[in-house]
């Protein structure tokens, strides 16, 4: 039976009950040329993922149904699962689809804690780093009312969570007569892009029989990792950070991991994540992962060159800009190839973001926003950046659509925006 595909959509429908935004012809962002340098927030879907999504979403079929349409949906789901597993060097039964990275982190942490404490009532400590994404930090904190003792491991001044620091934390917990329920350390930091020694942490935990998880949301695209060789029990990933769609992610769960579900009702996904699996999103995720995997070697070299051009250009402005976290030119060993995290003393982050936006540069502070206000970054705090002084932060992250012209525009914009943002701080402080 020929696959029936949707045509690419025309103009988006108008919002219900409303008029679409009126034409705006100002100097401001909405109409000017945009330079998108926020790929760590989300990166454009790769064409292969768009095509896979369109093809699959045009078809009816719940993968749990027993009829022909259901079987076809199930076949696509399982084929996609096999492709995801193949790219990540995992077994298909180890792939549990979720709505995204946040849900994967929550399932890993909450589900493991529940199973572990049921089996080992003394195992109530959760060891994690102080620079985790909020999806991990807040999931861990949410366990405290259930008796969890949270142990945060600080990174060194370069933004690396050192293995010996993790080992000391575990030893202290054990010396106190308790036991760790879980160790979770991110693969690569979402703000400053530093890469963590996850495999060593995993080896350390495994030899003591402690379940170990890593939030690899930022790493799966650029790093080309192997779940089998990582030594991890659990690994989180997100579709839209690597060229797939929003609304889909996965938790890789090793076959011998002990973990309870947190969402109940139907027993989908190995009984760990109930709810109808969005087959089209899964197909798009598989396509994106394969696409990224096929281009990775070349793409990594390209992004490293762009990143170094960006960081070098920013430092050469002689504006007192500092790189947040470890950076070795020409290398992606200690820092993601596409991450340029710049600390700009003497100005406020929102002024700098505004001026860059007005100049057409789409960047981020990298930290979570509360109602549109960039919050103080817990990662900068962990790095020991002075919290009593105003500190502008610009996270510029590169992706598959980034070019040298993008990088040069960003450096040019920094040259004018940084002094102006500093003036704005001086007058309004």
């Amino acid at each position: 039976m020929p696959h029936h595909t949707l045509r690419l959509p025309g103009p988006l429908p108008e919002p219900k009950g409303g008029v679409v935004a009126g034409p705006y012809h100002g100097w401001m962002p909405e109409t000017s040329v945009r330079t998108y340098l926020d790929h760590a927030a989300t990166t454009p879907m790769v064409p292969a993922a768009v095509e896979a999504w369109l093809a699959a979403t045009a078809q009816v079929g719940n993968p749990s149904s027993l009829h022909a349409s259901g079987r076809r949906a199930r076949a696509l789901l399982e084929e996609s699962r096999e492709r995801v597993a193949a790219v990540l060097d995992a077994h298909p039964s180890e792939v549990v689809f979720t709505s995204g990275g946040t849900e994967a982190d929550n399932l890993a942490i909450t589900g493991t804690y529940a199973a572990r404490t049921a089996a080992h009532p003394r195992a109530r400590a959760v060891v994690t780093s102080s620079i985790e994404h909020h999806a991990v930090l807040e999931a861990v904190e949410a366990l405290e009312p259930r008796g969890a003792v949270v142990r945060l491991v600080a990174p060194d001044g370069h933004g690396e969570v050192r293995v010996d620091s993790v080992a000391s934390a575990i030893e202290e917990i054990e010396a106190g007569g308790a036991a760790p329920a879980l160790v979770t350390v991110m693969w690569a930091n979402n703000e400053i892009g530093t890469i963590q020694p996850v495999q060593q942490v995993a080896a350390l935990a495994r030899e003591r029989g402690i379940p170990v998880h890593s939030d690899a949301v930022q790493a799966v695209g650029p790093c080309g990792l192997s779940f089998r060789q990582s030594g991890l029990d659990l690994l989180s990933l997100s579709g839209h950070k690597l060229g797939g769609p929003m609304g889909i992610g996965a938790l890789l769960v090793s076959r011998d991991a002990r973990i309870d579900p947190i969402v109940h009702g139907g027993g989908h996904e190995r009984g760990l994540r109930s709810g109808t699996v969005p087959v089209a999103l899964v197909a798009a995720l598989a396509a994106a992962l394969e696409d990224v995997g096929a281009r990775r070697a070349h793409e990594t070299e390209r992004l490293i060159a762009l990143r170094d051009r960006l960081i070098g250009g920013a430092l050469d402005l002689d504006l007192g800009i500092v790189v947040g976290g470890a950076w070795t030119a020409g290398s992606a060993r200690d820092r993601l190839p596409g991450n340029a995290h710049l600390i700009v003393p003497g100005c406020e982050p929102d002024s700098l973001m505004f001026l860059l936006d007005a100049a057409g540069i789409e960047a981020s502070t990298g930290s979570a926003c509360q109602a549109g206000v960039p919050g103080r970054s817990h990662v900068l705090d962990a790095l020991g950046v002075d919290s009593t002084q105003p500190v502008g932060v610009v996270r510029l992250t590169l992706g598959h659509s980034s070019t040298a012209a993008d990088v040069d525009r960003a450096v040019d914009a920094l040259a004018t925006c940084v002094p102006q943002a500093r003036t704005a701080y001086t007058v309004s402080a």
Binding site: G22, S351, G372
Partner: protein, 363 residues
């Protein structure tokens, strides 16, 4: 011009932003985050500074097709408005925080930042008018006298007014609501905010107690000096106040008693009868002119609270202080309040009331 439209999430500032856009300006919407731990949702109709309000402002900006940002001025607001509010009460004065916010936040911190970032002016949804007079820009009352907010803008200098827009001053509030509905703003029927934005429950004394702690002291008869009662903090009292004195009886002659003075440094509240409340001389410092300062004694109208009546007066400056001689006695004039002077509908200037007197005692 490049204009920042300060957008609270309410009806007025939404229409103000729309009108600036219609007038051909390049408009960017800015919501000020003024609370350091803003609630997610409005809990009553009174507040204006929740995350839900920021979202309402954002949706209006979306509708207008203008960029929108939230600027965090919570620390500055806390220092310059909230802490100042508490300190003024502690000193025995009665401040107006809206006026202080206009002076130090909206037309200072916000305006200065906007100018530094490349803007020319700030527009707000205040009900007041700016008129191009032959001696420069003039600040006038709004045509809707029931909503007129020129009083809380009376602290603005000519430099600040030169970079301000009040696009609603020529329209009445009901018409603004209609216009908001016609423009399709979902907030057209949103209730007006009332009271003090950082005291959404309206309990000023509770707010002050949390800030300043309980400070037990004495209620003292203003004439005899006799102790007539106790209080838990002089900051909880304001001149002209009758309720909440905790006195079980009126004066010796049976007439009602009022707060006639607050001695913050000694934490004493002075009590007396109504005849002690009437004053006709006001002396103020912190003098501001919204246009050219008057020469010599000027015949003006004086207003001492946001929606209070205007009383004919003569005003002149002496020794850096503003002296206002009222044509009739006013009651409930408290130090710390602002006296705003009008000439017709034009705002002449203002001062912060330092002390009051009756003409007889001056003679």
């Amino acid at each position: 011009m490049r204009v920042v439209a300060a957008m609270s999430g309410g009806v007025d500032s939404a229409v103000a932003a729309a009108r600036m856009l219609d007038a051909g300006h390049e408009v960017v919407g800015v919501h000020l985050a003024l609370s350091q731990n803003a609630a997610r949702l409005r809990e009553s109709a009174r507040g204006c500074c929740t995350i839900e309000d920021a979202g309402d402002a954002r949706r209006v900006a979306d509708r207008l097709g203008i960029p929108f940002y939230v600027w965090d001025m919570a620390a500055r607001f806390r220092r310059d408005v909230m802490d100042d509010f508490a300190a003024e009460y502690a000193a025995g004065r009665t401040p107006n925080p809206c006026l202080r916010c206009n002076e130090r936040i909206k037309f200072s911190a916000l305006l200065d930042k906007a100018v530094a970032l490349g803007f020319d002016a700030v527009a707000t949804g205040h009900y007041a008018r700016i008129v191009e007079g032959h001696q420069g820009r003039e600040l006038h009352r709004a045509v809707d006298l029931a909503k007129d907010q020129s009083y809380v803008l009376g602290v603005l200098t000519t430099d600040q007014l030169a970079r301000a827009f009040f696009p609603l001053g020529d329209t009445t509030k009901p018409q603004i609501r209609l216009e908001a509905a016609e423009r399709g703003f979902s907030i057209a029927k949103k209730p007006d905010s009332h009271d003090i934005c950082f005291i959404p429950d309206g309990d000023t004394r509770g707010f002050l107690t949390r800030h300043l702690g309980e400070q037990p002291g004495e209620l003292v008869d203003a004439v005899t000096g006799a102790v007539v009662g106790e209080h838990s903090g002089s900051y909880g009292f304001t001149v002209g106040q009758r309720r909440g004195l905790g006195l079980d009886r009126s004066g010796l002659d049976g007439s009602p008693r009022y707060v006639v003075g607050v001695d913050g440094p000694r934490n004493r509240v002075l009590i007396g009868t109504a005849d002690l409340l009437g004053v006709d001389v006001i002396v103020g410092d912190h003098v501001r002119w919204c246009g050219p300062p008057p020469e010599g004694a000027a015949a003006v109208g004086a207003q001492i609270r946001a929606h209070g009546e205007e009383v004919p007066a003569t005003a002149y400056v002496e020794g850096g202080e503003l002296h206002v001689r009222l044509a009739e006695r006013m009651r409930g004039v408290a130090p710390g309040q602002s006296v705003v002077l009008y000439e017709g509908t034009r705002v002449v200037g203002s001062a912060t009331i330092a002390r009051t007197a009756t003409a007889r005692s001056q003679d």
